[in-house]
Amino acid sequence: MKIAVCIKQVPTREWQPRLNDQKTWIREQDISYEMNEPDAYALEEALRLREKHGGEVVVCSAGPARVQTVIREALARGADRAIHVEHDTLGSADAFVLADALAAAMNAESFDLVLTGLQSDDQGHGQTGVILAERLGIPSSTIIMDVQIEGGVLRVKRELEGGWFQWIAMPLPALLTIQSGINQLRYATLKGIMAAKKKEIRKAALPDGLQPAQQIVSLAVPTRSKQTQMIGGSAPDAARELVRRLREEARAL
């Protein structure tokens, strides 16, 4: 089994948003980054499938030079090698550009299975994986919570709304977008970190002429739909005031 995992580097959860002067993108200089969480689950699933079926796991990422950090982290967790489509503009690229960039670098590899997170914690379009499948000419299924492979046939458990699920069979090669929580993540060992330093990262160029399918006109902190009454003071004071208002104003207690 030759398995690809597409990962993205995104700002950490603790990051407080700050905008550039044009208010069209975030101020990149003061951000610390991490691996997109659903992609981390996709990587873990790929490593488990390799343990069961053999083969190799190849990490693929499209982004500026900084994404090397998460590529190395994935290699340290156990991926065998990596492909990095590197370009400064890819940090803010939309799903069409990312999918086309990845497809160009991945096509000749003829992967049996491509996994990625169901969406990114930055722009969150939830499209890149499915568009990539179409560009690679393989079927896709999304929001996957279990992956089984027997006799060359893939069977996956797709999450539906409100606690419902569905099993879906499809031929390989295929692309799946993985839901958070499908497995328990492993973390890199010191041995893994050392080994990662020697693993290959193949650089691929961004193809010319890729066009975005949408443009960010502006970014802003969202406006509140409700007038939130903020309650301050020490913990006991805030607690007393909250309980009073829940009893007297909201009549919720």
């Binding site: 959860r13 990051w15 407080q16 948003p17 905008l19 975030i26 999918a99 914690d121 722009q123 969150g124 379009h125 939830g126 499209q127 499915v130 568009i131 499948a133 179409e134 079927p139 299924s141 999304t142 999450e159 539906l160 709304e161 409100g162 606690g163 419902w164 699920f165 569905q166 099993w167 879906i168 031929p171 839901q179 958070s180 975005p212 399918a213 949408q214 443009q215 960010i216 006109v217 502006s218 970014l219 802003a220 902190v221 509140r224 739909s225 409700k226 939130t228 009454q229 903020m230 309650i231 913990a235 006991p236 805030a238 607690a239 007393r240 909250l242 309980v243 909201a250 919720a252 207690l253």
Partner: protein, 321 residues
């Protein structure tokens, strides 16, 4: 024309379709609206939708559309778009749409804007508002690269009861040719994992816990608060993913949708997937260390601070009687 792609299953309309119709009506600016119903046997869904103030309802029935597959629906969507050449295509942002709309957009090589919570302007010049960075920012975006642009409307962003009725739209059949042999996914029947031992939908009060609780050892703190309030304990997705609380206690798009009298969000940042499951609650309390957390956008009462100090203080206050 604006084309709305309705969602139905076995002849029952998904309510989110009405929200999308309301969004289309706000967007239209005089542009006619057509609503399309896709499926094998769509029953009375087209008639139900014909009561909306829209120009027409299109019925695209084909045996290959049941059960739902992304390949089948992308093929049908493409045939429909070729037939009616809309300027914009609106869909409800459901799990089904999330599965096939990117495929449809990829095949058409046309823009897809997902998760839309607001629309500014009308017609082809409109700007769409959608959350980014886990709801920490709202982006105004424009499609780029020709029509039609596909747009998915977030659940709860528009009101179903705001959809204008009173039309008597013509119901028309549309032929969609689908090559059934080209459908690669073979789905089995949907099922529910565990019996729902707790129906959080019936709870009067809910204390829901999120990442801010930090570790499984701290869950009893939330349980104490819930007990003191006469509430059920629930959680955001990451808590259930970690196994700290059972999946059946998850609130949000992949879990239960609730609207209790009181909802206390304890250390929950408020990603859109969580908000859609609880923002209909009558009174919402948010307790979070991050003053910028999106949960405060929907909260009636907010406390910025350390939940490990505040939750015990609330318990102490309630136990005073």
């Amino acid at each position: 024309m604006i084309l709305v792609i309705a969602e139905q299953r076995e002849g029952t309309l998904n309510r989110a379709t009405w929200e999308t119709v309301a969004a289309a009506q706000q967007l239209s600016g005089g542009m006619p609206i057509a609503v399309a119903v896709l499926g094998a046997a769509t029953g009375g869904v087209a008639q139900e939708l014909a009561s909306a103030a829209v120009a027409e309802v299109l019925v695209a029935e084909h045996a290959a559309l049941d059960p739902y597959t992304p390949d089948g629906f992308a093929a049908a969507g493409r045939a429909l778009i070729d037939a009616v050449t809309p300027a914009l295509v609106l869909l409800p942002h459901t799990y089904q749409t999330r599965d096939f709309a990117p495929l449809l957009a990829a095949r058409l090589r046309k823009p897809l804007i997902t998760d839309v919570t607001g629309i500014e302007g009308t017609g082809s010049g409109a700007t769409f508002v959608r959350p980014m960075f886990q709801g920490k920012l709202a982006a105004h975006v424009k499609p780029h690269g020709g029509s039609p642009a596909l747009v998915t409307i977030q659940i709860g962003a528009f009101r179903a009861d705001a959809a204008q009725k009173g039309g008597s739209a013509a119901v028309k059949k549309v032929d969609v040719r689908i090559d059934a042999a080209a459908i690669r996914q073979k789905p089995e029947a949907p099922f529910r994992e565990a019996k729902q031992a707790v129906d959080l939908g019936q709870a009067e009060r809910i204390v829901a816990v999120g990442r801010g609780i930090k570790s499984q050892e701290n869950i009893p703190l939330a349980e104490r608060l819930a007990k003191a309030m006469g509430a059920e304990v629930a959680a955001s997705r990451p808590i259930c993913d970690n196994g700290w609380l059972p999946m059946e206690r998850q609130i949000g798009s992949s879990g239960q949708t609730v609207a209790p009298k009181l909802y206390v969000a304890l250390g929950i940042s408020g990603a859109i997937q969580h908000l859609v499951g609880m923002k209909g609650s009558r009174t919402i309390v948010a307790i979070n260390k991050d003053a910028e957390a999106p949960i405060f956008e929907v909260a009636d009462y907010g406390i910025v601070g350390d939940l490990f100090e505040i939750a015990p203080a609330i318990v102490a206050e309630l136990e005073k009687g």
